[in-house]
């Protein structure tokens, strides 16, 4: 074991005691897989769990029997607990949010049919992130559920997630919306704003600017409802019972993003409760003893080749080279991880090969609860 030994007992405790777990991290690190493994492991150990994912891999969703739906559907799981899952289609969820907050169907229709609507929701207000947290808030009120696991959209920026509700409030309450919806004649009349709006008209054309003003004029009427809800949602996000699990892989960029994410959480007075390093090679690979063994193999190649029929000494020399190569990879991954912030407990999950999805999830679940499994090669 290295000095920075992984600690899988803390995460086991976290999984058994937390009310809300948000998995965060860069794309491609297996964040959804880790969220699903946590949810299944908790349910197998008696908790009633709801898993909310934004965009899981098709294969994973199929294997778990999750369908694209905002509503929780029960998923079969071995053990004493129960597991429900929901897979959110964020743009459909936004449409519903607009309909729900609109004073009448005509207003909703005017907004939904506007060509710039999709674009606004997709990018300005971080709608994926906001929807994920909105669901978190809503499901928190469901008394059947005692653990809610939310898989957040891929992001290296904590701000995208944490500030989404505040941005929403800011958007509806701030000057921005007022400015955009002021009739164009008075805009041009103000000495302070005239040059600016002249530039916007120049860049985007008069038609577009009128479309924009009209759209925001209507959207503004929805403001009060959105603002209040977003404030409630923000409170849920900052509650003590909400735990952040940052997931990374040993690749360079995910490690950098995991570190940045943890730092940004701290800047907001919050902490990452756990760091999960996913897809790790077995621990014995980065032991220097492996290099000694590879050397022994080269030295003894002539005598050892006799032990097995098709083998020639050169094959054992080749095998030794593979050992050296894999050791180098393992050491470089380990070095990157050890340079990460050590404030939150770190849990390591193995790189799993040649397994079906469910078997993989349960293997990862076992590792979350049993630190002695670390170091074993994991393949189906």
């Amino acid at each position: 074991m290295s000095e920075n030994s992984a600690n899988n007992t803390d995460i086991a405790e976290l999984i058994m005691s937390a009310e809300v777990i948000l998995t965060c991290g860069a794309g491609g690190v297996g964040k959804t897989t880790v969220a699903a493994a946590i949810a299944r492991a908790a349910a197998a150990r008696g908790r009633n769990v709801a898993l909310v994912t934004v965009d899981p891999a098709r294969r994973l969703a199929d294997a778990m029997g999750i369908e694209l739906s905002d509503d929780l559907a029960e998923v079969e799981v071995a053990g004493d607990g129960r597991l429900w899952a929901s897979m959110i289609d964020t743009s459909a969820a936004w449409d519903r949010l607009i309909v729900a907050r609109s004073p009448n169907p005509e207003t909703a229709e005017r907004l939904l049919s506007n060509p710039i609507y999709q674009n606004i929701t997709a990018r300005f207000i971080q709608s994926h992130e906001y929807i994920a947290i909105e669901r978190l808030h809503e499901l928190g009120e469901n008394s059947d559920v005692d653990l809610l696991v939310v898989d957040t959209p891929p992001s290296g920026h904590a701000a995208d997630l944490l500030d989404a509700p505040a941005r929403m409030v800011d958007f509806f309450d701030g000057n921005l919306l007022k400015w955009l919806t002021v009739p164009s004649r008075s805009r041009l009349a103000s000495a302070a704003t005239k040059p600016f709006f002249a530039a916007v008209h120049l860049l985007l054309g008069n038609d577009f600017v009128s479309d924009l003003s009209e759209f925001f004029g209507v959207l503004r009427t929805l403001g009060p409802g959105f603002t209040q809800r977003a404030q409630e949602v923000e409170a849920t996000l900052q509650a003590d019972s909400t735990k952040f699990v940052v997931v990374t892989s040993p690749a360079p960029r995910p490690c950098r993003e995991a570190e940045a994410f943890s730092r940004q959480l701290e800047q907001r007075g919050m902490v990452a409760s756990a760091l999960v390093a996913n897809r790790m090679l077995p621990r014995w690979l980065h032991d220097d003893m492996l290099l000694v063994e590879a050397e022994n193999l080269r030295d003894g190649a002539n005598r050892l080749a006799d032990l097995s029929e098709p083998l020639e000494p050169r094959h054992l020399v080749e095998a030794a080279a593979r050992a050296d190569g894999l050791h180098e990879v393992a050491v470089s991954e380990r070095t990157r991880l050890d340079r990460l912030d050590q404030n939150s407990s770190r849990t390591e999950l193995p790189l799993v090969i040649g397994m079906g999805e469910i078997e993989m999830l349960d293997t990862l679940g076992d590792h979350l609860f049993d630190p002695t499994l670390l170091g074993e090669p994991t393949s189906g």
Binding site: F196, L202, L204, G205, F208, L212, L285, S308
Partner: protein, 308 residues
């Protein structure tokens, strides 16, 4: 067509496949052939500075550890000001405080405006011909189509404005298959390969931009021949005392083979479904944490793949 003879390469891939390293490797490789190259990271903080050994990164191109290679970070607010200056020859009124925010918002609100400010800036660099090659360390697969199709979207929605009227010359550069192409990255794993192949279809049908080919990144070294590997696996379990002190090495050689094979299906699917497009394979490189050293190794491997 030689990959390095394009004038603008948009590098993209699923998150986590090493898009930034590949984009930097393409840029370094081109610079080593004597070309003047600009590498632009589209998402600030993406790691292009570390990947090229640049001391700093900002909107103005900065020097890197490689001669002839400059690196920059996209800033659409700066880009919009550049446009106004280029088009009207009058500097844009200073947008400070709330005005800057509104400008930022308007650019975000209009479909394609932020993208056209990014792609347009790079197309402008191509037009100026300060560089032989401009490499875009692009957004992930989910967003690249929006960038490459931005000229159409903007012309449609804000066609009456200055930006919309600029779309024509940008399109001439972006749609010229001898000038501009996308380079799609994947690792030998199922999901990244599926996304890479899907993206190729989307770029073909939704944009007028050509696809140069695929980069298969992080390929593990070849495994032993199957019968040899099986014999090595037998040795791990062999009772002979002579094998003491070698079993971990034997075991890791077998594991190396398993890891390589785990990616082999995905890799061969990419090669098959790529049809006539080239697939350039780059090895899994370890670097002890030095991004620029890693990129240099990748650049050399790419050079070998391109028969330079």
């Amino acid at each position: 067509m030689n990959l390095l003879d394009y004038r603008l390469l948009a590098v993209t891939g699923k998150g986590g496949v090493g898009t930034t390293s590949v984009a930097a490797a393409v840029a370094v490789c081109a610079a080593k052939t004597g070309r003047k190259v600009l590498l632009c990271e589209v998402e600030p903080g993406g790691g292009a500075a570390a990947a090229t050994g640049a001391k700093r990164i900002r909107y103005e191109p900065s020097a890197t550890a490689t001669v002839r290679l400059k690196v920059m970070s996209m800033d659409t607010e700066r880009s919009v000001r550049d446009f106004v200056k280029i088009m009207t020859r009058v500097p844009m009124p200073v947008a400070a405080g709330p005005l800057a925010r509104i400008l930022d918002f308007v650019a975000t609100a209009a479909p394609g405006v932020r993208e056209i400010l990014t792609v347009g800036k790079l197309a402008h660099e191509v037009r100026l011909a300060t560089y032989d090659l401009v490499v875009m360390d692009g957004p992930p697969t989910g967003h690249i189509v929006g960038h490459l199709a931005a000229t159409e979207g903007v012309a449609e929605i804000a066609g009456g404005g200055l930006l919309g009227r600029q779309a024509a010359w940008m399109r001439d550069i972006l749609h010229d298959p001898t000038k501009t192409a996308a380079l799609i990255c994947a690792t030998p794993e199922e999901l990244p390969v599926s996304e890479a192949l899907d993206l190729r279809q989307r770029i073909d049908t939704e944009t007028g931009v050509a696809v140069a080919g695929f980069v298969l990144n992080s390929v593990r070294p070849p495994s032993l021949r199957p019968n040899i590997e099986a014999a090595v696996a037998d040795l791990v379990l062999h009772e002979s005392k002579r094998l003491d002190g070698t079993r971990s090495a034997l075991r890791s050689a077998v594991l190396a083979g398993q890891l390589r094979r785990a990616g082999a299906d995905a890799a061969s699917r990419l090669r098959t479904d790529a049809q006539t497009l080239p697939v350039w394979a780059l090895p899994l490189v370890t670097s002890g944490g030095d991004d620029a050293a890693l990129v240099n190794e990748l650049a050399d491997a790419l050079g070998a793949e391109l028969d330079l």
